[in-house]
Subunit: 244 residues, 2 copies
């Protein structure tokens, strides 16, 4: 029995997120189907994260156990031969049997992309959120610092989230603007359900002038979900990297 | 009766090209349907070019005549309200009744995008051609100069092309590489059927070392389609701009 770690990229447009479910296609199911085609046996694939429906990934990590005699690196080409066009294995390697892609993750980097301007995007629209109204980027950048550090993010998690603790550490949060693209980049030790999308939605409220940058601190302190902004849509979100 | 000129962007992935046809969906048909929804009457839309199935455009130009009382610039927002997600009107304006988007075009700019490297692209794969083999970019750049100028491009048009003359002027042809992206940019007074795709395909033969850069001159002189390279796939091609 060996433990194979995969790094994968996927276009989440046509999937109901990572996790296997009844009556909806997911990335996990596609990978498990592909592995079964190659090894002849079902292997459960353990994912580092449960990305939502419509979220994309450039550096998702997962692992599975198999009795296959195929050298682990060869799974890259073998799986790519049977996976659909919207999923690709970037790397396959053997890891210690104790490795668990979710439990051993030290952190994650997400990027959220917004397109502004007068015209809704067409080419590449699957990967960006179109936001027409004018934003004060300096105010938004100013608000970022309040998120940095270790906080109780209860106000920034979707109600019904099952995580035991709402304390997380945000290590980096930056906003970069180039022409009509705005990219939010966030690194943390872990994220609560919808946390990245609610943080970006809250920063948009700051950019619109509805919240002052300093109000972010009040929202955090309140631990009250109703005070923060609305989550931005899934399509602009991409899981860039998982740290181990 | 007024003449309305539209500049549009479209994602050609799900279309059988520009021109209306039976049993296949095209950009022209979608626009004519949208105009009819707004004005109540059918207007034929005259396109500047007949892009192939799967080709994209960021600056396609077309025009139509209408008796509608709506101010011409208002067609932008009105059409965008009824067009599907993969077509957007960037500009609408009234032009002289003598204006014809195809006859009056002075030139066009196309960009062809290739992705190289060990991994097939996933995010954005709809807009690029994945070419795995190693290319000698310097040789390809060297070959570009032979295309510049006024030539008989018979060797670079698809057989069965109905154009009366095969003489065209290529004003610019450049290759830019950034990381694993290679962008071919070409400006000319007009292009024969499949001409851009055959030129790029021929440059790939140069990059692979199968043709010398100088051999491009022999291919042009031969006027023999069988001597040039294969056309590259439509998905990497984008009509960037039409000049008037």
């Amino acid at each position: 029995m060996k433990n194979v770690m995969l790094t994968i990229e996927y276009d989440g447009t046509n999937y109901s997120g990572w996790q296997r479910q009844n009556n909806a296609m997911t990335i996990q199911q596609r990978l498990e189907e592909a592995i079964k085609k190659i090894t002849g046996n079902f292997s459960e694939v353990i994912g580092a994260s449960r990305t939502d429906a419509g979220v994309h990934a450039r550096g998702f990590v997962c692992n599975f156990f198999t009795n296959s005699k195929m050298p682990s690196p060869n799974f890259k080409m073998a799986l790519n031969g049977v996976l659909p066009k919207d999923i690709v294995v970037l790397d396959a390697r053997e890891v210690d049997n104790s490795f668990h892609s979710r439990y051993h993750s030290l952190g994650k980097k997400y990027v959220y992309t917004i397109v502004t301007g007068n015209n809704r995007p067409v080419i590449g629209r699957q990967y960006v959120y179109y936001f027409r109204r004018k934003l004060d980027i300096d105010k938004m950048k100013n608000a970022c610092k309040y998120f940095i550090g270790t906080h109780d993010f209860s106000a920034f998690k979707k109600k019904g989230s099952s995580a035991k603790s709402s304390v997380r550490t945000v290590k980096e949060l930056t906003i970069a603007q180039e022409d009509n693209l705005i990219k939010f980049s966030i690194v943390g030790d872990g994220f609560l359900y919808n946390m990245v999308r609610i943080i970006v939605g809250t920063l948009l409220e700051v950019g619109l002038g509805r919240f002052t940058p300093e109000y972010v601190k009040d929202i955090l302190d309140s631990k009250d979900r109703s005070k923060a902004g609305k989550p931005v849509p899934a399509l602009g979100l991409c899981l860039e990297k998982i740290f181990y």
